[in-house]
Amino acid sequence: MAGLTIRNLVKRYGEVQVMHGVDLDIEDGEFVVFVGPSGCGKSTLLRMIAGLEDISGGTVAIGDREVNEVAPSKRGVAMVFQTYALYPHMTVYKNMAFGLQQAKTPQDEIDRRVRSAAEVLQITDYLERSPRNLSGGQRQRVAIGRAIVRDPEVFLFDEPLSNLDASLRVQTRLEIARLHERLKSTMIYVTHDQVEAMTLADKIVVLRDGRIEQVGSPIELYERPANKFVAQFIGSPKMNFFIAADVPPASRPDGFADSDTLGIRPEHLVRCDEASARVAGKLELVEQLGEYALAHLITPEGSEFIAKMETPPTEAHGEMLYFTAVPERMHVFSADGLSKTA
């Protein structure tokens, strides 16, 4: 097992630079999730660690060893692809054994490793089947099994759940979490789904346009986002933003300037009376989800926001509702998007 050190990593495709000097430390045994909107460079970063993309500048080290010029198979990493990328012409067993065969592992050792991985993933019954006779979830397990048998120092997952349906996704997510619990290997996981990121990660890396926006534990990112982008990306529904005009001067948090933005998460808005309100909005729509309700509102200044409520409001559409929030739950962002409160 090993950690990872990434220093000033740069990726260019011809003239176009897509990765702008990324620095990142990953501890041994950590579960790290790269998250960000599509095109942010999270997959590119993963593929550079894997060795599938050339490194244009900077270094990647796995353990103490710089791997810039090392072949993918010799980096001690194993990858699970979004499309599973199983070999369609080989049985499940051969799919899992293939990498070990290439490394000239003795046959009995291959057999032992494949069977033990199959045991862990409960695919022993399918070992002689071909991938096309498996369901999506089973294929995904085979893909994970193929990674496990190689006993890598670092597991790389490239959006492994995005081809599965919703219920299977939750189940497989749990299995991946259990797998990490059991193997205690370093795992790097790419997703655009912030729920996967929050539930799986020890550490989340939020990327945008080839730069790291913030690195931290899920709860850190949730409670103290470093900027508006992270604040908006982590948490569902998204954090609400209010301009100065939305907030009466007396209700503004300390140090709030006129050009600042106030951020409050939907779940932290609390109903109150007009006098003590920090923000107010005209009720536009209520989404009833049983466990809670989401009220969609719009301030007199035109900022749209959402309030999460245990009981749906009884007011008619178009009526004003008043909300407050405790100071610890309020985030202030300056005009350049950076948090003043993190």
């Binding site: 599938l52 072949a71 198979s73 990858m79 692809f81 499309t83 070999y87 369609p88 290439q102 193929r146």
Partner: protein, 276 residues
């Protein structure tokens, strides 16, 4: 007429047209085979005979005068040999172009294909001299080399397209598994593109088999193929239709039978893929 009736009529007309086209294509072959079983007298009779007593006399005489099997064997060896050599060169080339595509790849392919636009006779002289210089004139080796080069651009282009169908992730997975380039081609690319390679090979074999220009020009007796064999039946005193028909039937039969047999394999090969 309702829309539905109109649709039925359009469908019927289309089917009829297809049958007519098929018959037009098939008729000359049918007529050739028919004529080969006639006597020379019956062959030139007007109006043409449809019902007659078939005779094997033409076939027997051909085998008497020449050795059909020698020509057939030359055709088999040069067609399969030329195809094999073309594949051996085209597979690695198509692999590298399909999986390491650059913005020049399309140009390179077009450039190679453009050599097919050149008339063969344009390079006759240099090839003739080279053949003599290397003492390869009238050898099967020479035809194998010529056929391989002749089909290489097309073989490469088709393989390139088949290889591109293979999802990139599968090759990346094999790279993560530590596969060498040679093993990657042998264990991943070839099995996955097997149907494509087989149909490409079949096409190349047919093209080689039917090639006449080089085989007539570059061989005299030893390495002559069936196409040269057919050509040799042009007699100065005119064509003997029944015999030429028999010779042509003999030249076509093996490749038609081979193609017909391979077709079943090909369909299997093409549907095996099922990558996703």
């Amino acid at each position: 007429m309702t829309d539905r009736q109109r649709q039925i009529w359009i469908d019927r007309a289309a089917v009829t047209a297809a049958w007519i086209a098929a018959l037009v294509f098939f008729f000359p072959i049918f007529w050739m085979v028919l004529t080969s079983f006639k006597t020379e007298g019956q062959a030139i009779q007007v109006p043409p005979l449809l019902i007659f007593e078939p005779t094997l006399e033409n076939y027997l005489e051909i085998q008497d005068r020449t050795n059909y099997f020698k020509f057939a064997m030359n055709s088999v060896i040069t067609a399969f040999g030329g195809t094999l050599v073309a594949l051996l060169i085209a597979i690695p080339s198509a692999y590298s172009m399909a999986f390491n595509t650059t913005h020049r790849t399309k140009d390179v392919l077009m450039w190679m294909l453009s050599t097919k636009m050149l008339p063969a006779v344009g390079v006759l002289m240099p090839i003739y001299f080279l053949a003599q210089k290397f003492d390869l004139f009238d050898t099967r080796t020479l035809l194998v080399v010529i056929y391989a080069m002749m089909n290489l651009p097309i073989v490469m282009l088709i393989l390139f397209n088949y290889f591109r169908e293979i999802p990139k992730e599968i090759l990346e997975a094999s790279r993560m598994d530590g596969t060498s380039t040679f093993n990657e081609i042998r264990q991943i690319v070839l099995p996955l593109a097997w149907g494509g390679i087989a149909s490409t090979a079949l096409l190349s074999i047919i093209l080689c088999w039917n090639e006449a220009f080089w085989s007539i020009v570059l061989t005299t007796t030893d390495a002559s193929t069936l196409t040269a064999f057919v050509a040799s039946f042009q007699a100065p005193e005119g064509l003997f239709w029944a015999k030429v028909s028999a010779v042509s039937t003999l030249a076509c039969a093996p490749i038609v039978v081979f193609g017909w047999m391979a077709q079943k394999q090909l369909v299997q090969g093409l549907t095996f893929g099922a990558v996703k």
